[in-house]
């Protein structure tokens, strides 16, 4: 049992993991991914909706505030337009009252076109501004260039109220400010401008108060300049357009154009600082022409979604770990007994049939298999014992068969040349049995000085019964031939005897010839045997045709006929059994008569033992060493110059 089993190419545990574990992993992953993508989409949608609401709200707050502030210059302009008498003192009073009432305005001016206020003065710009000392008036003649200032000129040219671009007010601590200007029309003609300076410091505070998921908000002015931005260096310096150039980001320019065009939008972009993917929503503030924007890093929005994904992944991995452990455990539960069984089978195949497999108590197919193994071992043990006994018996029979074979061989003439003192012919015969004892036989013997009987026979069946029948045949033939009655009569007589008591129903084919060694004359009879042939010296052959007579041992009344031929000097008579022509390759191809005849013709001038050796070699090679039938050949050659012997 300690033998290591050889490596298995596709272990069960691997297949279970492949077909259960991996599909589970895939399904799990697909579910996690789908839910992540859905959550992500939903979160982004929520965020976008939130951002739209937030920027919309903030924009509305700013809009409302600046719309309210813008009413003050409008009211003053209307008041001035309605005044019967206009003088600078009244204007100062008017502005002071408004400044006292409106803390968000830190300075005001009422400025007139040349000679519009007073035909004697070319310019008049009355101003009041807040300072640490309270409200301060500026002399109306202090500034002579207001006519070209944007806050004056642009609304004058446009003929409508105007928000200036924001600027840093030089006085009052460099405060970010912008001005709102409202035209004054006297008698339907443009006469001047009422302007209010408004601090934008509150704007920054508003932005800072808005918490957007660790994102930020900013405001751009009408031409894109940042008015409020978490990076103070950007304010009034950079714009989406300048950043687009500096950072090589054309997308920023496109966004900036939409913003200053007063559009609302949502856009995904790479953050200008970190480069991480962010979402930006912008909403216009129509009153001032600004745009309010909020930027949120997608990571921050997706953080809860991601952490949910991570939780799912952890759960999934834990679940998979349990499943993998289960798979490994189960498969070892199966493969351990299998390994035991494998080792057990190995022990059995090594011949140890007395062992029994134990320790498999599972109430499942494996236990059933173990029981079958144990039964198989017991059965095998019994079978091998029986087999050993049978083998012993068979060996005894075979030993006897070997002896029988020796006896049988001794029955056939085996010494060549058989008649060294007869130069008129040469004779060679050989029997190669398929089994230990052969059913074929041949014989030759002189009947008188000049006549020799030559026969070849093939007993039906093989082995011991055929051998015994052959022995009977041979003895019988020797006896009947000695009577000198010719081949046909000899065969007829033998047939009668054999047929009479043939309980085993065995039969024999036989060719019997009486050969006159002096003249070469040949008288023969054929009891159903393969017709022999004669190889002429010129390489042609002639067949000693069969007369169609029956086998020996079948019909006691059968008649047999004689045929005649004559061997000329150098001609070779070939007798053979069907073991030659029916020799077969493992692929089923027969050796055949043609091949046999060719071999004989090719070797007709060799000595006869060589002819046999050549034939035997070819047949062995042809059958690849497996022989199914007895092979028997008798070769009789009339010597050249045989006639001189007569």
């Amino acid at each position: 049992m300690s033998r290591r089993s050889p490596t298995v190419k596709s272990p069960i545990v691997r297949r279970l993991i492949l077909w259960i574990g991996i599909p589970l992993l895939l399904v799990y992953s697909a579910v996690a991914l789908t839910s992540y993508l859905q959550n992500k989409r939903a979160s982004l949608d929520r965020m976008n909706a939130y951002l739209l609401e937030l920027t919309g709200h903030q924009a509305a707050v700013i809009e409302t505030r600046f719309a309210a502030i813008s009413r003050t210059p409008a009211i003053i302009a209307e008041t001035i337009e309605g005044m019967k008498t206009l003088n600078e003192q009244r204007l100062y009073d008017l502005m002071e009252r408004r400044l006292a009432a409106d803390p968000e305005i830190f300075g005001m001016a009422v400025s007139f076109e040349p000679y519009a206020l007073d035909p004697k003065t070319a310019s008049s710009s009355t101003r009041v501004f807040r300072s640490d000392r309270g409200l301060e008036k500026v002399d109306s003649q202090a500034d002579k260039t207001y006519g070209t200032a944007d806050w004056y000129l642009i609304p004058k040219l446009l003929g409508r109220p105007y928000w200036t671009e924001p600027y840093f007010a030089a006085g009052g601590g460099n405060v970010l400010a912008c001005a709102f200007s409202h035209p004054i029309r006297l008698k339907g003609v443009f006469a001047g401008i009422v302007m209010a300076d408004i601090s934008l410091a509150e704007l920054e505070k508003t932005l800072r108060a808005v918490d957007v998921f660790s994102g930020y908000t900013f405001i751009v002015g009408r031409s894109g300049t940042f008015i409020a931005h978490p990076n103070p260096d950007f304010v009034l310096r950079e714009s989406p357009f300048s950043l687009a150039e500096t950072l090589g980001r054309p997308d920023l320019r496109a966004i900036g154009k939409n913003m200053i065009a007063g559009k609302q939008g949502i856009v995904a972009l790479a953050d200008i600082h970190s480069g991480e993917k962010s979402w930006m929503v912008y909403t216009p503030i129509p009153a001032t022409g600004w745009s309010y924007a909020a930027v949120i890093p997608e990571d921050k929005v997706l953080a809860p979604v991601r952490s949910q994904l991570y939780r799912q992944l952890v759960l999934m991995l834990a679940g998979l770990a349990v499943i993998f452990l289960g798979i490994v455990g189960t498969s070892y539960g199966i493969t351990n007994p299998l390994r035991k069984l494998t080792a057990f089978a190995g022990t059995i195949s090594a011949g140890n049939l007395d062992v029994r497999i134990e320790g498999i108590k599972r109430r499942d197919e494996i236990q059933r298999l173990a029981e079958v193994f144990n039964k198989m071992a017991a059965d095998l043990n019994q079978y091998i014992k029986d087999f050993a006994a049978a083998t012993q018996a068979k060996e005894a029979v075979e030993s006897e068969l070997r002896i029988a074979r020796q006896i049988q061989e001794s029955l056939l003439p085996r010494v060549f040349p058989a008649f060294p003192d007869r130069p008129e012919f040469d004779l060679y015969a050989k029997n190669s049995p398929a089994k230990d004892v052969a059913g074929d036989f041949y014989d030759f013997f002189f009947l008188d000085e000049d006549h020799m009987a030559v026969l070849i026979a093939d007993v039906s069946g093989k082995g011991v019964p055929a051998a015994l029948f052959m022995a009977v045949n041979r003895t019988l033939m020797k006896t009947v031939c000695q009577k000198g009655v010719g081949p046909a009569e000899s065969i007829r007589a033998a047939n009668e005897i054999l047929s009479r008591d043939n309980d085993a129903c065995m039969f024999t084919t036989m060719f019997l010839a009486v050969y006159n060694v002096k003249t070469g004359d040949l008288v023969y009879a054929n009891a159903g045997h393969n017709p022999p042939f004669v190889a002429r010296r010129d390489g042609s052959i002639r067949v000693l045709a069969s007369m169609g007579d029956a086998f020996l041992g079948v019909d006691a009344e059968a008649a047999y006929h004689e045929g005649r031929d004559r061997l000329d000097p150098g001609e070779l008579l070939v007798l053979y059994t069907d073991g030659v022509t029916e020799a077969v390759t493992p692929e089923g191809e027969f050796f055949g008569e043609e091949r046999f005849v060719r071999l004989v013709i090719d070797n007709r001038n060799e000595d006869l033992a060589s002819v046999w050796n050549r034939l035997s070699g070819d047949l062995d090679a042809f059958q690849k060493g497996r022989q199914f039938d007895d092979i028997t050949v008798v070769l009789l050659k009339r010597a050249l110059g045989g006639e001189s012997w007569a």
């Binding site: 260039t145 150039e245 200053i260």
Partner: protein, 322 residues
């Protein structure tokens, strides 16, 4: 100019008063080069000459000073507080005290008019009856010549130091410096293909702009110093153009130090535009830069006389001394 104008003016008068009270310069003090405006790429060559020790290499100890609304280089030159200044020919030819041009840095006028394509203005004649914003003083010489040349009568409106009026449509055509306002329009979201530019230099009115000037007596007393100044300045420009990124870094530091509200994109554009104006007609070889061509001198002089700014001008040879 917004609300600052009146205060600025007040401060200007104040500063002028201080200037008048300042005693004449003492011998042995630093040589002062005062440029027309706050730090920006228009003055990159002088800044880099200073920063890279190119003045020192010529044996000069130069202080580069900047100007604002309250400090004009010409006032500083005449007061003796500045030895060299940058100025336009159209300015320096109208002064009542003789000055000498020792280096004409910009060869091409960068002053231009710009219209929005949507206004339908395509050629000078289209400006007839349209609101055209122009700057006052010396900046009005080229537009005046331009309108006369093409027989145009636009509605002239004053222009402040920015392009807001143009952007909101308060005027149809605005004046611009190619290196400055023209790009600011672009950086306000208006694409260049939506603009129609009119360069005065393309209409036979190329008035070369920034040149280096000193009092005639300064040049007569120490011509060698003037030559050194010229060499150092041209080397400064050569360096600035060859090392644009480094120059922009230095410029942005200067701008931050002087609280100039600008951005790198704007300064980069300006440096490239100034580069075009410096190499105009001279090519990349710095040894051919800085020459005041007699044609250019004459063109400006003729126009000044025609418009009645001056009756006579100095001879070219007396005005320009390399």
């Amino acid at each position: 100019m917004k609300m600052r104008g009146w205060r600025r003016t007040a401060a200007g008068f104040l500063l002028a008063g201080i200037a008048l009270a300042t005693p004449p310069p003492q011998a042995g003090r630093m040589t002062v080069l005062q440029v027309q405006w706050v730090p920006q790429a228009q003055f990159a060559g002088y800044i880099m000459a200073k920063e890279k020790g190119l003045f020192e290499a010529e044996g000069l100890d130069v202080d580069v000073r900047f100007s604002d609304e309250n400090s004009s280089p010409i006032t500083e030159l005449f007061s003796g507080r500045a030895d060299f200044i940058t100025a336009w020919i159209s300015q320096t030819l109208t002064l009542n005290r003789p000055v000498v041009n020792i280096c004409q840095v910009l060869q091409k006028s960068m002053l231009m008019l710009v219209a929005k394509k949507e206004s339908g203005i395509r050629k000078p004649e289209d400006m007839n009856g349209k609101r055209v914003a122009i700057w006052g003083g010396d900046f009005s010489i080229q537009p005046t010549a331009f309108f006369r040349k093409y027989g145009i009568t636009p509605v002239l409106v004053p222009q402040s130091y920015n392009i807001d009026a143009f952007l909101v449509g308060a005027c149809d055509v605005a004046s611009a410096m190619y290196y400055n306002e023209y790009n600011k329009i672009y950086l306000s979201g208006v694409d260049q293909e939506d603009l129609v530019p009119f360069f005065y230099s393309d209409y036979g009115l190329n008035f070369p702009e920034d040149g280096i000037y000193c009092l005639r007596e300064t040049q007569a007393r120490d011509p060698e110093m003037c030559r050194k100044m010229r060499r150092a300045i041209l080397k400064g420009w050569e360096y600035a153009f060859a090392h644009a990124d480094e120059t922009l870094d230095v410029l942005m530091d200067y701008c931050a130090g002087y609280r100039v509200r600008t951005n790198r994109a704007q300064q980069k554009w300006m440096l490239e535009a100034i580069h075009q104006a410096v190499v105009f007609g001279a090519g990349p070889d710095a040894s051919r830069w800085g020459v005041l061509k007699k044609d250019d001198f004459q063109r400006v002089a003729d126009e000044l006389i025609r418009q009645g700014f001056v009756k006579t001008v100095p001879a070219y040879e007396d005005f320009y001394k390399e």
